[in-house]
């Protein structure tokens, strides 16, 4: 099949939606920039130079529209603007701004394309540009897919540069000094005599000055901020307890609510008796919701208790009720009928494995459902008053929140104001807005009164949209100490099918997430095939940090490790030999050098595993060391090398890289969501463990920098599980093909 035949999944789908919606395609429409959302209602004396810089007499505000969920992207966006604006980060306020088409994500549509990240051919580039155009036309504002830095790097620097030159033009008009003789520094225009005119004093003049035309961007050697570790203002607030997350919002006259709906996801409520709840002191109202009810009370604890006192008669889930039944739907999907993609098919892997002299190596792997479980439970505050709806919440999809409100509640989206709040984690959870729509339902029942709706942790576990469970079947062959054939078939339910439908968009075509992190790996294995099979939709599933690569890194790199051991080769050396991509080879070599790699068994009872995954355009190699101790297996070292493109803030990048590895390790070791009776069995953190302090090994990270633009929130997650499983094999001879690993070994 030719490349053209398999272009465009989400892009095509979103394009279809655009045509259906009457959006005219054309160069003119794509080139025209969306309106500046800061201009309507801007007070006299204030200036909004581009959608990203707002200045008034009181201060300079930088608009950082990608949602801050802990990844430090508010800070990074501010750095990009401030770099060209010549202002210190301690001189600005950072604000997420309103939802607006001007904040479209030009990269996220390309994320689902069937082009390997390292493919820079004409077709791949053309498809990515088409994705940007469609996203711009529709104003798709999403935070996700590790896209924020690549999407925003040029746009935000350009906004800073335009603002700077506009301020200089305004200063020139005020002072009569030619622009060419003006400089900028420290948030001020500098006159030839050294006097400084603060930007704040120029706000009114700037508002009356036409924005500067395109301004050349500074070369990297002129940067003062980008590439340096600068303290994050939000970290200070978070350490003092003064950061106001969505859950902390307080408004005058606010009341407090919680929701309780059928834990059998998508199942109906056949009846309920709320009499006891309504009789409790402090309870204001019980409001029916789809699948259950919300309780409104004068405090959250009363709402929680009252919700627990409602007797519900809940119906069955619309999918197999048991974990065994769910596994069966996935295991039964390895059929031609359910084949979703075969984007990698080099040589003849099936024949090579069958014909292998030493016999084919075969194995089956499993990865469980996983919860996002950010530590801040889902919450949203809503106020319905005078035909306007105000929503305060942490969300990665603010414009979809607006359109979903219109779809679900019939309130025109232009009457919905979304106030973005800092989030206590997300990991993909806030790409869904179910909790927001519940808050809207409650607010509509309480016109004129702000209502904060907060979930219990139990509701949060019951109503996650988990990372899908997945099964992989591997077959391969080795000869003369080398891996010669690798065939991997992966079956999983489709995240895109489940999630895009909830965004109100149509979904069809192959789902790259089923095979991401497997089909697109830069190995020159002579016979190499990766096939995706789409399991029937069951539990509603969603994007979980690193999405499909989160399980495929485990599958691909564990099975490759099996083949390498079968060949009698060194796990690191054979990967380097097979690697067909220079940056990927560099990270493998770098990780080996950092760890002082001397084979998988450096000492008795000590095992080292290596794994490599290229995801989100970032090649990452990880080496994990475990020691087999009397108390169990103990992680004793982790070495990570990644080629990450531009590093915006080294301390922030290191935090993301380390956090991603530990996220991958902790879930691989301990975590799973299983379903019985149609509901998740894990109800709180006692049954869903991530990593604890006592288990955390020393982690060394080396970030190899280039002038490419990549995101770092996700790419270090996928190799972690396999590196650990491979280390356990090296230490103990036990090959674990199922997560969580704690089902088979004990950790100390």
């Amino acid at each position: 099949m030719g490349r053209t035949g398999r272009i465009l999944r989400r892009t095509f789908l979103i394009g279809t939606a655009a045509v259906a919606g009457g959006v005219a395609f054309g160069v003119w429409a794509v080139r025209r920039d969306p309106a500046n959302p800061l201009l309507p209602g801007l007070p006299v004396g204030a200036a909004a130079i581009t959608p990203f810089v707002r200045i008034d007499a009181a201060g300079v505000t930088l608009i950082a529209p990608r949602a801050e969920v802990g990844q430090g992207i508010a800070h990074a966006q501010a750095m990009m603007i401030a770099e060209e604006l010549d202002i210190g980060l301690d001189q600005v306020a950072i604000d997420p701004g309103p939802p607006a088409p001007a904040y479209w994500n030009g990269r996220v549509a390309a994320e689902g394309l069937p082009f390997a990240a390292i493919d820079d051919g004409m077709m791949a580039r053309g498809a990515r540009a088409a994705g940007d155009a469609v996203s711009k036309l529709l104003g798709i504002q999403i935070t996700g897919g590790s896209t924020s830095v690549p999407d925003m790097f040029d746009r935000l620097r350009a906004a800073g540069a335009v603002a700077r030159e506009t301020l200089k033009a305004a200063a020139s008009r005020e002072t009569g000094v030619p622009v060419a003789q003006l400089g900028t520094a420290g948030g001020a225009v500098i006159l030839p005599d050294g006097r400084a005119l603060p930007y704040t004093a120029l706000a009114a003049a700037a508002a009356a000055t036409p924005p500067a035309g395109p301004v050349p961007l500074r070369p990297p050697e002129a940067w003062r901020l980008i590439g340096r570790s600068i303290p994050r203002a939000d970290i200070a607030r978070k350490s003092l307890g003064t950061e106001i997350y969505g859950i902390d919002l307080r408004l005058p006259g606010m009341v407090f609510a919680t929701a309780r709906t059928n834990p059998r996801l998508g199942g109906p409520v056949n009846g309920m008796d709320a009499a006891a709840a309504e009789a409790m002191p402090g309870v204001l109202r019980v409001v029916p919701l789809p699948g259950g009810a919300a309780v409104i009370a004068r405090d959250t604890w009363t709402a929680f208790r009252a919700a627990g006192a409602i007797a519900f008669d809940w119906g069955a889930a619309p999918f197999p009720a048991t974990q065994a039944g769910l596994w069966r739907t996935i295991a039964d999907s390895f059929t031609d009928e359910r084949r979703d993609s075969r984007l990698r098919d080099d040589g003849d892997a099936a024949a090579a494995a069958t014909a292998a002299a030493a016999g084919a190596v075969t194995a089956e792997y499993r990865a469980p459902y996983l919860a996002h479980a950010p530590l801040e439970p889902m919450n949203a505050t809503a106020l319905w008053r005078d035909g306007w709806l105000d929503i305060w919440t942490g969300t990665q999809i603010p414009r979809f929140v607006q359109s979903n409100v219109e779809r679900v509640h019939g309130i025109p989206s232009e009457r919905v104001r979304v106030h973005q709040m800092p989030s206590g984690g997300s990991f993909g959870r806030r790409l869904e807005d179910d909790y927001v729509q519940q808050a809207v339902a409650v607010a509509r029942a309480m016109e004129g009164t702000p209502v904060k709706l907060t979930w219990t942790r139990e509701e949060d576990f019951a109503h996650d949209f988990p990372r899908p469970a997945a099964i992989a079947r591997g077959r391969g062959a080795v000869a003369d100490g080398r891996v010669t054939a690798l065939e991997l078939a992966i079956a999983a339910p489709s995240v895109a099918e489940s999630q895009i439908a909830r965004l109100g968009l149509p979904a069809a075509g192959p789902d790259i997430a089923i095979v991401a992190g497997a089909w697109d790996q830069p190995y020159a294995i002579p016979h190499y095939r990766v096939t995706g099979h789409r399991a029937p939709a069951a539990v509603p599933v969603s994007s979980w940090r690193s999405v499909g690569a989160s399980h495929n890194g485990f599958f691909h790199e564990s099975f490759l490790d099996e083949l390498i051991h079968a060949a009698g080769a060194d796990p690191l050396a054979e990967r380097i030999r097979l690697c067909s991509h220079a940056p990927s080879r560099r990270v493998l070599e770098a990780a080996g050098a950092m760890a002082g790699w001397a084979g998988p068994r450096p000492a008795p009872g000590v095992g080292r595993g290596v794994a490599f995954t290229l995801s989100f355009g970032v090649p990452v190699a990880e080496i994990v060391e475990v020691a087999d101790t009397p108390g169990g297996l103990r992680l004793t070292g982790v070495w990570v090398a990644a080629e990450v493109g531009r590093v915006i803030d080294p301390a922030g990048a290191e935090a993301q890289a380390t956090g991603g590895v530990l996220w991958g390790l902790g879930h691989a070791m301990h975590a799973e969501i299983t379903y019985e009776g149609g509901a998740a069995e894990q109800t709180n953190f006692h049954a869903f463990g991530g990593l604890r302090l006592s288990e955390v090994p020393p982690v060394q990270v080396r970030l190899l920098e280039t002038d490419a633009l990549r995101g770092l929130g996700e790419p270090t997650v996928p190799p972690a599980a396999a590196a650990l499983a491979n280390a356990i094999f090296a230490a103990t001879g036990q090959r674990i093909r199922e997560m969580p690993l704690v089902r088979h070994v004990r950790f100390a």
Partner: protein
């Protein structure tokens, strides 16, 4: 009937059920939202406060049990102008990512160091292992506890 709590050095009268957990009295009634709700079951540590100087899970303590007990929250530990040495270390080490668990982590560390100025790694684990950080900032948490301990000993 009003219950009087001593919070951050001031007496506060609260009209609420004596069974209400301290967490919700702090957050919803007193507006002290620095103390976080994470699990409601004493598992995650996000709601850790000090009761007479000892770390405790505010979601597990009914306000009716707090007569004569001095409650300290993250807001009472230090301020932007005068941060507690543990808060200063947390900022200097740039520990927080999402930051939601950090008030609880900081309260646990502050209680540890108040009683043990030179904790071993095992002491740190014993005091902090019950605190969940979903972002896995644990390496910097460890560094910040050590840095705070050193700073407090030197002060």
């Amino acid at each position: 009937m009003a219950i009087v709590l001593s919070v951050n050095g001031a007496d506060r009268a609260i009209e609420a059920d004596a069974e209400m957990p301290l967490l919700w009295a702090l957050r919803d009634i007193l507006g002290l939202t620095g103390t976080k709700f994470g699990c409601g079951a004493g598992i995650c540590g996000a709601c850790t406060v000090h009761l007479d100087g000892r770390a405790a899970r505010a979601c597990q303590v009914p306000i009716g049990d707090l007569a004569g007990v001095a409650v300290t929250t993250i807001e009472g530990l230090g301020t932007a102008e005068a941060p507690h040495p543990v808060q200063r270390a947390w900022i200097e080490e740039q520990v927080a990512q999402c930051g939601y668990c950090q008030p609880g982590q900081i309260m646990a560390a502050a209680a540890l160091l108040a009683n043990n100025p030179a904790p071993s790694d095992d002491d740190i684990v014993a005091a902090m292992d019950g605190h969940i950080c979903r972002c896995a900032t644990y390496p910097r948490i460890r560094s910040a506890v050590r840095a705070a301990a050193a700073a407090m000993r030197g002060a």
